[in-house]
């Protein structure tokens, strides 16, 4: 078995293959120099300096030995030959496969404006990126974050906690435009402003200015110039589908997979940020989360061994900013009603989203019990009413078993 991509999803495929009883050779190939590591702390504890790099590793070296998983780091795959069933490495070596998993992840989206290449303009995806930003934060006084998504907001929070001047420039008319409801976006705009960050909405970046090759300011379409000695670009990621497209696998904003992580080729599965899941109707669903990578990894390993383990759990996700823990479960995009439990003023509430009277998603702010109960409610498709959701005296957990 060959796995291309040694992130959370790729590692999960390797581990699940062993857990499912597969005893043959497993090769896990990663481009980065590091063994698989946890990515979420990069924009949080690593920037804050509260975690050492060694703590990021998902598994230690002995684990790979014990599980007989051959880990090739710093290794790039050049191409996949599906008819001959081998992958060709950049150094010319060939690895035959019986089953192949693609866990190629994603790359940071570049800003299509002049000055994007200046020193001091950084994106955050890998450990190397986090190291660069951390060094830059040590020297910076004025930080401009371009893009009000989760990565941008977490970096902004880390910079504010260090006492730096922070400006967040978001092109849309609200934060978190791709991934959260307007209500949650407004909460986060208030939160960042209350912590002293400048949040500029509808701010379209037209150019980055520099001096001696270093960035000095960010210019926006309204003619303003925002001085900066560090610019962090967080305008989304682009799924890395080059290898899949190169060998003719169907892609549509990600490598297309079914609920069992299968691609169109029965010998090839794909997991994590590089994938887009076919849905019964409408556009393929692409989720950028640890849970998605892990669950798809488990499904993919089963599929490679000819077993069925479809992944249908409700998507969940979290973000830590300042002293606010956000936990999201479900997909709120198509909701038609929202009710609250708790109060946004206290920074402790959950927003419940309904569509045609069915619960579709919950955003919890500093209310982890609501989130955990909500995951069970959604996974078991338990019916609850908006009135029950809003009733603080009714523990959510009590709703899980009808009749109790």
């Amino acid at each position: 078995m060959v796995i291309v991509g040694a992130g959370q999803g790729g590692l999960q495929v390797a581990e699940s293959l062993r857990a499912e009883g597969y005893d043959g050779p497993i090769t896990l190939i990663g481009e980065e120099a590091s063994a698989p590591y946890h990515r979420p702390p990069l924009s949080k504890a690593i920037l804050a300096g509260t975690m050492e790099e060694a703590q990021l590793a998902i598994r230690g070296a002995e684990f790979f030995e014990r599980q007989r998983i051959a880990l090739l780091t710093g290794t790039r795959v050049a191409a996949i030959d599906r008819s001959a069933r081998h992958v060709r490495l950049e150094d010319g070596r060939r690895l035959e496969y019986r089953g192949l998993a693609l866990a190629t992840g994603a790359r940071v989206r570049r800003l299509p404006v002049a000055g994007d290449e200046l020193d001091g303009v950084l994106g955050l995806r890998s450990l190397d990126d986090a190291r660069r930003i951390r060094v830059a934060l040590d020297r910076a006084a004025r930080v401009v974050v371009i893009g009000g998504g989760y990565i941008g907001l977490e970096v902004a929070a880390a910079a504010r906690k260090r006492g730096l001047e922070v400006t967040i420039l978001e092109a849309a008319d609200r934060l978190l435009a791709r991934s959260a409801t307007p209500f949650l976006a407004a909460f986060y705009a208030d939160l960042h402003r209350s912590q002293g960050a400048l949040v500029e909405l509808g701010a379209k970046v037209v150019a980055l200015d520099g001096q001696g090759g270093r960035v000095t300011a960010v210019r926006t379409a309204d003619g303003r110039s925002h001085p900066a000695d560090l610019v962090v670009v967080g305008v989304g990621i682009v799924p890395d589908t080059a290898l899949a497209e190169g060998c003719g696998l169907a892609c549509d904003g990600g490598i297309l997979v079914d609920d069992s992580a299968r691609t169109d080729d029965p010998a090839i599965v794909a997991v994590g940020d590089c994938t887009a899941r076919r849905t019964g109707t409408g556009t393929p669903l692409r989720l950028e989360s640890v849970q998605n990578a892990v669950e798809q990894g488990r499904s993919a390993a089963a599929a490679l061994l000819g077993r069925e383990r479809p992944f249908t759990a409700a998507p969940w996700f979290w973000s830590d900013q300042y002293d606010v823990k956000l936990q999201i479960v479900g997909l709120s995009a198509d909701h038609d009603r929202m009710v609250l439990r708790g109060s946004p003023e206290d920074r402790r509430f959950s927003a419940f989203y309904f569509r045609r009277d069915a619960l579709v998603a919950i955003d919890s702010i500093n209310r982890p019990a609501d989130h955990m109960a909500g995951r069970k409610l959604l996974d078991h498709k338990t019916m609850i009413t908006p009135e029950q959701a809003a009733d603080e005296s009714l523990p959510l957990a009590s709703l899980m078993r009808p009749g109790r």
């Binding site: 703590q55 998902i58 230690g60 640890v290 979290w318 209310r367 982890p368 955990m372």
Partner: protein, 107 residues
């Protein structure tokens, strides 16, 4: 550095050396202790690193935060008086020799 013994639900024991300042969860996960998942990587967001700590030590540990308290109420296996999330327990020399028992299921 502390030597910590993890005992899985089926009785399997694994002794892990964990550096000072790391969490119990990090030590267990990096060594591949099967009974601890730690899916969220240690941000107290998933409750899949639930464990039962040494009865003798439980009172000497810093108490759980409000968030950990709430997460502990939602663990997949029974919460007991010595239940903790292992991602919230920092290792120090004082924990050398500690025994940690793992629940039947994490999710």
């Amino acid at each position: 550095m502390a030597k910590v013994t993890f005992i899985e639900h089926d009785g399997l024991e694994q002794v892990v050396d964990i550096p000072t300042g790391w969490t119990l969860m990090q030590g267990a996960v990096q060594s591949g202790v099967a009974g601890i998942e730690g899916e969220c990587g240690g941000s107290c967001a998933c409750a899949t690193c639930h464990c039962y700590v040494d009865e003798a030590l439980v009172d000497s540990l810093p108490p759980p935060s409000e968030t950990e308290e709430e997460m502990l109420d939602c663990t997949a296996s029974e919460r007991r008086s010595n239940s903790r999330l292992s991602c919230q327990i920092r290792v120090s020399d004082a924990l050398d020799g500690m025994v940690v028992r793992l629940p039947e299921a994490q999710s």
